[in-house]
């Protein structure tokens, strides 16, 4: 057990170092463009965290990111690169919105039905690429990207026909019964658009961690991810594991879609692939593919995203700087092997000195 703990701490240190290096690089950008980095960061973080309302908004921004981050991380544990979180979340969110706009039910029942539809449709959207991979060895990167576009055009077609709202490019607003926002939560956070999707996201983190760590299913999925041949040799059905893993990843992204379109937003727009899908890759990367790491990384990205507007308003620093910082952090996350190496070296040196 002790070994396990050390591992987690190490990952946490790497996560913090990665963020720190990203922030440092961002400070250099700000300096280079003639701005005061301290001021910039002050407003960036104040923008994300200075009031209850803003904290609420940060959490609301982070919610879909937690889902997509989990989605990517989960698939990755089985050795699959799910680039299709965007499409899965779009399709899942679309189906949930369609249900919300069609059925008239009491709020708890309607939300449950919507969540169920979001998960099933997201799962379906990922299961097909998973099945292609298992059956015909079609690379999931290619097929999930294609599925992103299929979802994109389906929504593009169906929304104006059946759910047209005020504009040609968006759906009607969902009724209050179909919204994840709730009176008491909004009031608690002084009118923020935080919603109960956050609790769904936290539950998803818990369930994913549990599934991966403690269950036979997690054992199988990880075994297939690490070494498909050995898993097959040991009697694990690798094809089934691949489809399963993609389905779970898709269900997570689909539910994330619901939190986006009927929690964070109130309608669905056509012609937009949700950027959270691709950001989920960054979240998973920064979170070292562990559910808890994903949670931490998503909260951090949520802070940056929701704070960058305030920074822009209060200083002359362009919001692109915040995006640059995020990109730099992703870069460091991708190269965290280097950070790990440096850490190991430092550790060894410390021990050696202690020994002498």
């Amino acid at each position: 057990m002790t070994k396990f703990k050390i591992q987690i701490n190490n990952d946490a240190i790497i996560l913090l170092l990665t963020i720190l290096l990203g922030l440092l690089a961002g400070a250099l950008f700000m300096l280079a463009t003639g701005h005061d980095p301290l001021l910039g960061y002050e407003f960036l973080f104040r923008g994300g965290l200075m009031s209850l309302e803003r904290i609420g908004n940060t959490l609301a921004t982070a919610t879909p990111l937690i889902f997509t981050g989990l989605s990517v991380a989960f698939a990755f544990k089985t050795g699959l690169f799910n680039i299709g979180a965007a499409g899965q979340m779009l399709f899942g969110g679309f189906c949930a919105t369609a249900v919300g706009l069609t059925l008239q039910l009491p709020k708890p029942v309607l939300l449950s039905v919507m969540a169920f539809c979001a998960m099933v449709s997201g799962a379906l959207w990922a299961a097909l690429p998973g099945w292609f991979k298992a059956k015909f060895n079609v690379h999931e990167v290619v097929s999930t990207i294609m599925f992103n576009w299929i979802a994109y055009w389906l929504v593009y077609y169906f929304v104006p026909i059946y759910f047209k709202g005020a504009f040609e490019t968006e759906s009607r607003n969902i009724p209050l019964e179909a919204s994840l926002r709730s009176e008491w939560l909004s009031q608690l956070f002084n009118g923020s658009y935080i919603n109960i999707g956050l609790f769904l996201a936290l539950a998803a983190v818990l369930i994913s961690a549990f599934l991966l760590q403690r269950t036979t299913l997690g054992f199988e999925l990880k075994a297939v991810g690490f070494n498909r041949y050995a898993a097959e040799y040991a009697g694990i059905n690798a094809s089934r594991s691949i489809v399963f893993s993609m389905m779970i990843a898709g269900a997570l992204a689909g539910l994330g879609g619901m939190t986006l379109y009927s929690g964070y937003a109130t309608n669905i727009q056509i012609g937009v692939l949700p950027s959270q899908g691709i950001d989920g890759i960054a979240v998973a990367l920064l979170g070292a593919n562990s559910p808890w790491g994903v949670l931490a990384a998503a909260l951090f990205f949520g802070t940056l995203y929701s704070g960058k507007g305030f920074m822009n308003a209060m200083t002359s620093i362009p919001p692109e700087i915040a995006d640059t910082i995020i990109a730099t952090i992703i870069y460091f996350a991708a190269t965290n092997v280097l950070i790990r190496k440096v850490l190991d070296k430092m550790k060894n040196r410390n021990r050696n000195q202690g020994g002498n």
Binding site: A223, F226, A234
Partner: protein, 507 residues
């Protein structure tokens, strides 16, 4: 007497494991000096220290009498120490010349001049009898040739002391004898060689002196000509060992594995196994002898379920398993020690304990209602590790990747035997292992037979087949050429059959 390389009292510690503890190695000018030790004894660590990849925690190194500090491989190169790695480090779509000059390309105004380099490589090749064509591409030449390129790389950099790290593991017998010749040429020309190996035959054939280390400690240095293979083996493992497996006669019982007219296609859809029939009884080891690639792999994969069979059937203690899934076969009492332990045998990134339940995590007590029971898994793994002498740095939570090859193999064999299988398929169970581990694994296989189970042993080592088997099935070109009693045959007879010559008097 001055040594070309002398390492005195070298000590190196990793994460609580003492890899080298006071090791001394003294190499004379112009000799082949073997460094002998079991897997994990510390040979590679010692050589990595000499080559500058690790820094020693204690001890000193002298090169031609001068004390030196080898901080990195570049220092080693400057001192004239070169290493021929076990796994070649070559660029496959480069020519031999390009590979050799890589890192110090001779150039004029930024344009690489390969002509002069190629000329020098040709000279070196002729002088040392390497027979290398400087303009050939690496991807077009044999493994043996690639190794010679690695040797040339060292010679090109004027290495005086060459370290060969397990050089024969990847070579065919012909290539091995050629390598021996090359090494002899090298020392005649004044080079010195350190040969890392655990193969006694090769030491006997090539080396002048031999330093033996065991579990990180120096055991002694002997004159090879005056020492027998058995004596060296015993120095290496630290106890009496026998190359012959003690095995009593047993009456075979019921048929536990029955293969009937089995035909299996290979990856190119050609029948690699043709109408193959064989029975293995309880209390019996049947060896499958054959030259590599004559259908053994397909046979094993069809029995274990990794590959579909085209026609015919496989029966396990009276139940047909031909169309069962792998899991069903395992549950029916089949166990398999796979040929490639890293590809099929282990999930290297899993801990040992997770690997020990790779097939049975779904059974109680290891899981209940799909929830893993970590305590039960750990206990089970500890049990296997104790019984099968699996040595690891941190017990059951050690990652399988960090185990030495021998310990990985012992872990797999432990896992498979702990399934209490009625039939055990063991493929190349001792490949790449040292004599100590080999002896141990052979004993366990015989114990499995003595306990009344069936063992199908597939091996390319004829000695192993002859030593362990009760009966030997010879396979050639996918067909059963003959079935003989091990007690009534010898290596020459079996060798002839392996070449496809049918014999009378089959059983």
């Amino acid at each position: 007497m001055e040594y070309v390389v002398e390492m005195r009292g070298i000590r190196k510690e990793f994460e609580g494991i003492i890899a080298n503890d006071g090791i001394t190695l003294a190499v004379k000018q112009g000799e082949i000096h073997a460094l002998l030790g079991e897997n994990g004894a510390g040979k590679s660590t010692l050589m990595s220290i000499l080559f500058g990849l690790y820094q020693p925690d204690g001890g000193s190194i002298f090169v031609r009498g001068q004390q030196v500090h080898i901080h990195n491989p570049n220092v080693a190169y400057e001192l004239g120490i070169g290493m021929v790695h076990q796994h070649f480090k070559l660029v496959h779509n480069f020519t031999i010349t390009e590979n050799i000059i890589l890192g110090q390309e001779p150039h004029k105004l930024g344009v690489v001049n390969t002509v002069s380099a190629a000329k020098r490589i040709k000279e070196l090749s002729v002088r040392y009898g390497l027979n290398v064509d400087p303009d050939a591409k690496i991807e077009d030449v044999s493994v043996g040739m690639q190794q010679r390129v690695e040797i040339l790389k060292m010679l090109y950099r004027n290495a005086q002391v060459l370290i060969f790290d397990e050089p024969t593991g990847v070579l065919t017998p012909q290539e091995i004898s050629e390598l021996m010749k090359i090494m002899k040429n090298l020392v005649t020309e004044g080079k010195s060689i350190i040969l890392i190996t655990h193969k006694l035959k090769e030491i006997k054939a090539a080396a002048d002196r031999c330093t033996v280390i065991r579990r990180g400690q120096y055991v002694g240095t002997v004159n090879v000509a005056a020492t027998s293979e058995k004596e060296m083996a015993e120095m290496m493992v630290g106890r009496q060992i026998s190359f012959k497996v003690a095995k009593e006669m047993r009456e075979p019982g019921d048929v536990l594995l029955k293969i009937e007219n089995l035909t299996v296609l290979n990856n190119t859809k050609v029948a690699a196994l043709k109408e193959f029939s064989l029975e293995v009884h309880s209390g019996e080891i049947v060896g499958v002898a054959g030259v590599d690639g004559n259908g053994q792999t397909e046979l094993v994969e069809a029995i274990t379920g990794l590959r579909k069979s085209e026609s015919g059937s496989v029966w396990l203690s009276g139940i047909e398993i031909t169309h069962m899934t792998i899991k069903q076969r395992i549950n029916a009492g089949l166990a398999h020690v796979p040929e490639d332990r890293q590809k099929h045998g282990l999930v290297l990134d899993y801990s040992i304990e997770d690997n020990m339940v790779l097939e049975i995590y779904g059974r109680e007590p290891f899981s209940k209602n799909s929830l893993l029971n970590r305590t039960a898994i750990r206990q089970y793994a500890e049990e296997i590790m104790k019984h099968f002498d699996v040595r690891s740095a941190q017990g059951p939570v050690t990652s399988a990747r960090s185990l030495s090859g021998g310990n990985q193999q012992k872990a797999i064999i432990g896992r498979e035997m702990s399934l209490n299988p009625k039939v055990l398929i063991a493929v190349q169970p001792t490949r790449g292992l040292d004599v100590g581990s080999i002896e141990y694994i052979h004993k366990r296989l015989v114990a499995q037979r003595d306990a009344g189970y069936a063992v199908l042993l597939v091996s390319l080592e004829l000695d192993e087949i002859l030593n362990l088997s009760d009966r030997i099935a010879v396979i050639s070109n996918g067909e059963l050429i003959g079935l003989v009693n091990a007690a009534e045959t010898n290596d020459i007879k079996v060798g002839l059959m392996m070449a496809g010559v049918r014999r009378e008097g089959q059983v």
